[in-house]
């Protein structure tokens, strides 16, 4: 390997590490996570615990586990038999108590802790203090309900101690349901496809991306670029500077200003009040208005990129073309139609492709303004993924399902950005180095 190759690798190394850790790994892991049941409940570490509780019992019932097994699984049972007596001896219970139980009450059982402790108190060898009572009753518990077992072995041993004589299939069902950690699944994808929202989300996303790109990122950007071309240069520069501002303004502040404009005691309501229009929150009062604002807010930000690119493309058109067409009697509109627009074909294609892809995944401005409301009428695909995995009202964040929603965008993003590479002629951008050393 030449010295320059070695130096090159050293100089590349930091970026390779960062890109691998926080760019490539997330791409792959989004795919991996989408096949898991990870939620806030299961946690994200690889090992989970085992526990039978009411929820697990309900799940098992729906899986057809017989009622008598379920009753035993979820029963708080205290029993006096050889095993529990031995356990009590080992735990250091008073010998007098153990022998009284063994001789007089062998084989009896009690449905709850309360009943068993009341029974213990009625014995002649009863424990003296409440603490002793608790300590004495514990070994007689023959139940696993609401107990957390940290490993599979301890859980299976405890299950075994119930003497249920389970067949392997039922044991597997119980074990599976009792597991509190995450596991592998394809259910995220079936849920994603079967939910009614999955029909509307793509439509909303298309509306959001299509309308914003067509009306503002390309449409209004063209208007800005062409009109400022005909204006005196100082006015034009001021106009372009003004329209660059929304792009520079922090999103939180930009949306705040729009909220003020739309609020029920904000600008619009106050201005319209003399005309008899009732004051209302224009941003959220119905879904049509919400959509208008979503597109306006995103559009005002997005117009600048197109404006700048189209402006410089228009200025690059030889002035002679304008003189020639003017001599031939072309009006300004005809000049726009037949001189300017044909020259802007590639810039328009570039801006359309580029902004379509970045809008497809962007949800920042919607999150800050409508947050998907009213109802879920402005919840686009990317925002749905964010809500599912990172922020919702119930607090149970479904990382797995969210990752499944996100992977759709990741895959579209990868395909589109690779396609752009071919479309915009990669080879001309990468001439080889001219020093071999």
């Amino acid at each position: 390997m030449s010295a320059s190759a070695r130096l090159g690798l050293v100089m590349l190394a930091p970026s390779l590490v960062i890109v691998a850790l926080l760019f490539l790994a997330p791409v792959i892991l989004t795919g991996v996570f989408s096949f898991t049941t990870m939620t806030t409940g299961t946690g994200i570490s690889a090992s989970g615990a085992y526990q039978i509780d009411d929820v697990a019992a309900g799940t098992l019932r729906s899986q057809g586990v017989p009622a008598e097994i379920l009753d035993r699984l979820s029963a708080e049972l205290f029993a006096i038999d050889d095993t529990t007596l031995a356990a009590a001896r080992q735990a250091g219970a008073a010998e007098a108590l153990v022998s009284e139980l063994a001789t007089g009450h062998h084989g009896e059982s009690f449905p709850t802790r309360l009943a068993f402790e009341r029974f213990l108190k009625s014995l002649s060898a009863r424990p003296a203090t409440t603490r002793d009572l608790k300590a004495a009753s514990a070994p007689f518990r023959r139940s696993i309900v609401n107990t957390r077992y940290e490993s599979r072995e301890t859980f299976l041993a405890a299950l075994d101690s119930l003497d249920l004589r389970l067949d392997p299939a039922t044991t597997a069902k119980i074990e599976d349901t009792a597991y509190t950690g995450w596991r592998w699944t394809t259910a995220n994808y079936t849920r994603m496809l079967s939910s009614a929202e999955s029909f509307y989300r793509p439509l909303r996303t298309v509306l959001y991306v299509g309308a914003t790109v067509a009306l503002f990122n390309v449409g209004f950007a063209l208007v800005l670029a062409i009109t400022t071309f005909f204006l005196p240069s100082r006015t034009a520069a001021a106009m372009r500077a003004l329209w660059l501002l929304p792009r520079i303004l922090p999103p939180v502040l930009h949306v705040l200003l729009w909220k003020w404009l739309a609020w029920d005691n904000g600008f619009l309501s106050t201005v319209l009040a003399p005309f008899g229009v009732a004051s209302r929150n224009w941003l959220l009062d119905n879904s049509v208005n919400a959509w208008i604002f979503v597109i306006l807010i995103n559009g005002f930000v997005g117009a600048s990129m197109g404006m700048i690119i189209f402006s410089s493309a228009v200025r690059a058109i030889p002035v002679t073309l304008f003189y020639a067409s003017a001599t031939d009697g072309a009006s300004t509109l005809q000049q726009v139609r037949h001189v300017i627009l044909p020259q802007l074909r590639w810039p328009i294609l570039f801006v359309t492709c580029y902004q379509t892809l970045s809008l497809l995944a962007s949800f920042e401005y919607i999150l800050l303004s409508t947050n998907g409301r009213p109802g879920t009428s402005t919840e686009v695909w990317a925002l749905a993924a964010y809500h599912t995995a990172l922020s919702n009202y119930t607090g149970n964040l479904e990382y797995g399902l969210g990752a499944a929603l996100a992977i759709v965008l990741v895959v579209i993003g990868l395909i589109a950005s690779t396609a752009y590479l071919r479309l915009f002629n990669f080879a001309t951008l990468v001439p080889p180095p001219r020093i071999e050393q």
């Binding site: 190759a5 970026s15 006015t235 003020w260």
Partner: protein, 274 residues
């Protein structure tokens, strides 16, 4: 005559469409130091009440100065890291015979067009796993990583404009490629470092989603998260206060905007996100 009429039409059209923008910006300045009666838009009294957040933190909120400090650390460190990493990687890809050079360059371009915000869920889980969740270092790393493809591409573009003759002369005089880069090439791309630096400071200062998701806790909070939390809290809904905090927050951005307007035009026309 005809062109005067045309310009008038254009001016009216642009004036009308720009009206919301102008109204919002004027109100941003006015409302922070005045009060208005309900049902009116005209200020009636000068007051600094909205600026109280500067000396007394609202209940349950971190001090604005700690938050400002965090924002400076976040935007500053991610900028420095981005400049350091992309100026070296950009040079390697522009001028050195790195193995798989074309593959790396294609990768940079694909990642540059790729919508990075889709990765936020996985990054959130990764930072939790490696213990950098709610840590300013974690957000800085994530921010740098997501801006890196753009940074490398911009720097490569600037290196491409440096004449080969400068490097060839250096190599002829017996300097190593590293020395040539540091002593001869790096000074040539100062405008590039400047442009990328400005872009990165603005982008870090404005960033909302990454810190909101990756470091929301009070002691590592940045200004964007602070302001968003203030607005989302329904109990003290007061646009005068929101705008005062917002103006305070965006002040550095306005200053950069005033001084570097022309540079910004080139940067934001160069295919950055949004």
């Amino acid at each position: 005559m005809q062109s005067k009429l045309r310009n008038l039409v254009i001016a009216v059209l642009l004036g009308l469409t720009s009206l919301p923008l102008v109204v919002m910006l004027i109100s941003l300045l006015l409302d922070t130091v005045t009060t208005t009666r309900p049902g009116s838009l005209v200020p009636d009294r000068f007051t600094l009440d909205a600026w109280q957040f500067l000396w007394s933190a609202p209940p349950g909120r971190p001090s604005i100065w700690i938050t400002t400090f965090n924002t400076i650390v976040f935007a500053g460190c991610s900028t420095l890291l981005l400049l350091a990493v992309s100026s070296t990687a950009g040079y390697a890809l522009a001028r050195l015979n790195v193995p798989f050079r074309k593959f790396f360059l294609a990768g940079v371009l694909v990642m540059h067009a790729f919508p990075t915000v889709t990765l936020i869920i996985a990054i959130f889980l990764i930072l939790q796993m490696i213990g950098l969740y709610n840590h300013i270092g974690g957000v800085i790393l994530a921010k740098t990583a997501l801006d890196l493809p753009l940074g490398i591409w911009i720097m490569k573009g600037f290196y491409d404009t440096v004449p080969w003759e400068i490097e060839m002369a250096g190599v002829q005089d017996g300097a190593s490629r590293f020395t040539v880069w540091r002593k001869l090439v790096l000074p040539q791309i100062k405008p590039g470092l400047m442009a990328l630096g400005i872009f990165s400071v603005i982008s870090g200062w404005s960033e909302y989603i990454l810190p909101q998701v990756l470091a929301p806790r009070n002691d590592v909070q940045v200004l964007s998260v602070y302001l968003a939390a203030l607005i989302n809290n329904d109990t003290h809904f007061d646009f005068h206060v929101f705008k005062a905090v917002g103006l305070f927050y965006a002040l550095p951005i306005f200053v950069i905007y005033l001084f570097f307007q022309n540079k910004l035009m080139t940067i934001y026309g160069g295919g950055t996100k949004g």
